[in-house]
């Protein structure tokens, strides 16, 4: 014999269904409004959705690498799983920082992202630089490429 469903139970179920619907609807709306899908793409414009990266985007457009590399080519790992893990991790900190406005100014790359960047320099330029023993993430053993070639990605800086 099925147990009779109490009135309280029923109200709660209906309430839960409603809030779940609201959550789903508002969540999807916010996600769409915030151009959430763009973050899964390789489009550099997605990186300046929140305006913080506007100067970096501007600089990249005027840089030597503009024609050959986008943000993701240098700043995310090149394998599928590592790339989306990196996007998720950085995306979380970026969203948190921008929403709560509690990040360091000026923004600076973190060591493990710097290591990703260094590996990506080598990944494209390995034919020329394979004689150089680089140590991504360990500037004490070997300086990163961008220590000297600062302007290749984001153009001239003062």
């Amino acid at each position: 014999m099925a147990e009779p469903v109490s009135k309280t139970h029923l109200y709660l179920l209906v309430g839960l269904a409603c809030t779940l619907g609201l959550f789903g609807g508002l969540g999807t709306y916010t996600f769409t409004y915030a151009r959430g899908l763009s973050y899964f793409s390789n489009d550099p414009r997605a990186c300046m959705n929140c305006h913080i990266m506007r100067e970096h985007f501007d600089g990249w457009q005027k840089s030597p690498h503009h024609a050959v590399a986008t943000c993701n080519d240098c700043h995310t790992p090149h394998t599928f799983f590592a790339k989306y893990l990196s996007k998720a991790e950085n995306g979380f900190w970026h969203s948190k920082g921008f929403t709560l406005q509690d990040f360091h100014e000026p923004i600076m790359i973190r060591p493990h992202n710097s290591a990703v960047l260094q590996r990506n320099c080598v990944s494209c330029h390995e034919q020329i630089v394979d004689g150089i023993d680089t140590h991504p993430g360990n500037p004490d053993r070997m300086l990163d490429c961008v220590h000297c070639h600062r302007e290749v990605g984001h153009g001239p800086i003062r």
């Binding site: 609201l22 508002l26 916010t30 913080i52 100014e105 600076m108």
Partner: protein, 475 residues
């Protein structure tokens, strides 16, 4: 059996309640996030609020502040008082901190009162209250840089017969400037009511940077007319290359980046009051280096005062920040005053330049780190190293100059003649001018470390040469 059923139902109900509450909270947070995104988007599209009309006669910064609340908020912070290792914005008495300066300035107003300058907000009040103004007689010329004085200049210019109209704007300012300079300070100061304000750097119509201080315009044109190399001010070099047509017009020829230094150079410079008219004049026609300005003063036969102890014709260096910066690596690399003293700050989704003008040492992250990507502590340590070395050399130079004063005084007591003391007094003028140049400049050598050291080395050399001259000529 019945109890177990009730218990299970109880658990089920509480689970449902928790789920419902959790989902409601999540929904609430999603809405807050949405609201936050909308707000950031709005910030990025609107950063100016035209709620009142401002024009070239609107001196009161509070009125501009209604249109530009972000800039105004930081501008008002120049009231803050903070001490740095070698300066800052606290009005401590230099004469008590370093009593040798009472002797170096003997017979001059600065031996009476030499307080460290406070922030921009206090420039007019501090000038009205300094004992150099209350105990000694000063001209209206001082207002050129201590007040938002342009409307007063224009009014007096019009009154003196310069035709009205925007096309005669510079002529009106120039004429009014000449009138105010020769007035007694006590009368002239009644014409003004605000310290430096928005119109001193900005064009009210379009917010472009603009220079209008007449002494600066005359000075920078004299500099452009000379052959002094200005790699840090490329528009001057371009104007010269293009055949020096007409006169150099900073408001037309200079780039925005140059203007971000020139608006400051309207006042943060070496100057003197020329002739009976007490016209504020920047001695730049031979160049911006310490010996070139000295050559200018020597040529026109200028002295600020006669040293009370030694009788030397002494010069007072003012606050030659622009000239010193011009000799340094930052200027050479295209870094403007505003890059370090008014760095960009982010407010939500937009960036505004920080109008709280102050020492970069109080704001290293924003002032230095956008170019120097090393830890703040390391940047501060490097800057302090430069300043501490400069301070050590400065103390040594003070000692050398005071020793020379002592030598001259003692020779005078033993009856040396003016002819015998001419060379030592001239050398005192040279040494003291260099010492004061680095001491009065507000960066403790940082704006151009090597240049500051070179100048102090010359100061010590001239002072000791002076002592040798006393020993040789005034036996």
């Amino acid at each position: 059996m019945i109890t177990r059923l009730t218990e299970r139902r109880g658990v089920a109900i509480w689970t449902l309640v928790l789920l419902l509450g959790g989902t409601a909270l999540a929904t609430f947070l999603v809405l807050m996030l949405y609201q936050n995104i909308v707000a950031r988007e709005a910030e990025a599209t609107k950063d100016v609020f035209r709620v009142v009309e401002v024009d070239d006669r609107t001196v009161d910064p509070a009125v501009w502040g209604k249109n530009y609340p972000r800039q105004y908020d930081s501008y008002r912070r120049t009231v803050d008082t903070e001490r740095t290792n070698h300066g800052g914005s606290e009005a401590f008495q230099h004469l008590d901190k370093d009593p040798v300066w009472r002797r170096i300035f003997a017979g001059y107003g600065f031996a009476v009162d030499y307080r460290e300058e406070r922030g921009h907000a206090y420039m007019l009040q501090d000038q009205r209250e300094t004992e150099r103004v209350t105990k000694l007689k000063q001209p209206g010329a001082c207002l050129h840089c201590h007040a938002s004085v342009m409307p007063a200049y224009i009014d007096l210019g019009l009154k003196a017969g310069v035709p009205a109209g925007k096309e005669n704007w510079e002529a009106q300012i120039q004429k009014g400037f000449e009138e105010v300079c020769k007035m007694p300070y006590s009368d002239a100061t009644k014409l003004v009511e605000h310290p430096v304000s928005c119109i001193d750097c900005h064009d009210a119509e379009n917010m472009n940077l603009r220079v209008n201080r007449p002494a600066f315009l005359t000075g920078i044109r004299a500099l452009a007319d000379s052959d002094y190399a200005t790699p840090h001010l490329p528009s001057i070099e371009r104007w010269r290359r293009d055949g020096r047509q007409g006169q150099y017009e900073p408001n037309i020829h200079a780039t925005r980046q140059e203007m971000r230094s020139m608006v400051c150079a309207q006042c943060h410079v070496e100057y003197y009051f020329k002739g009976e008219g007490k016209l504020v004049t920047y001695p730049w026609s031979k160049g911006l280096k310490v010996e070139q300005m000295e050559a200018y003063y020597d040529e026109v036969g200028y002295k600020d005062w006669t040293h009370k102890e030694s009788g030397a014709s002494a010069l007072k260096a003012q606050h030659p920040e622009f000239e010193m910066w011009s000799q340094g690596i930052h200027a050479r690399s295209g870094v403007a005053c505003a890059d370090c003293h008014m760095p960009y700050v982010r407010e939500g989704a937009i960036k505004v330049s920080n109008h709280h003008v102050r020492s970069p040492l109080l704001n290293v992250a924003q002032a230095c780190q956008s170019c120097h990507r090393i830890p703040e502590k390391e940047i501060t340590a490097r800057a302090l190293l430069v300043q501490d070395r400069n301070a050590a050399l400065l103390r040594r130079s003070e000692k050398a100059v005071v020793d020379l004063i002592d030598a001259i005084v003692s020779a005078q007591k033993s009856g040396a003649s003016d002819v015998q003391l001419k060379a030592p007094r001239d050398l005192q003028r040279k040494a003291q001018w260099r010492l004061d140049f680095v001491s009065a400049e507000n960066s403790m050598g940082f704006h151009a470390p090597q240049e500051a050291a070179r100048i102090l080395a010359e100061a010590i050399d001239y002072a000791r040469q002076g002592e040798i001259a006393v020993a040789r000529d005034a036996k």
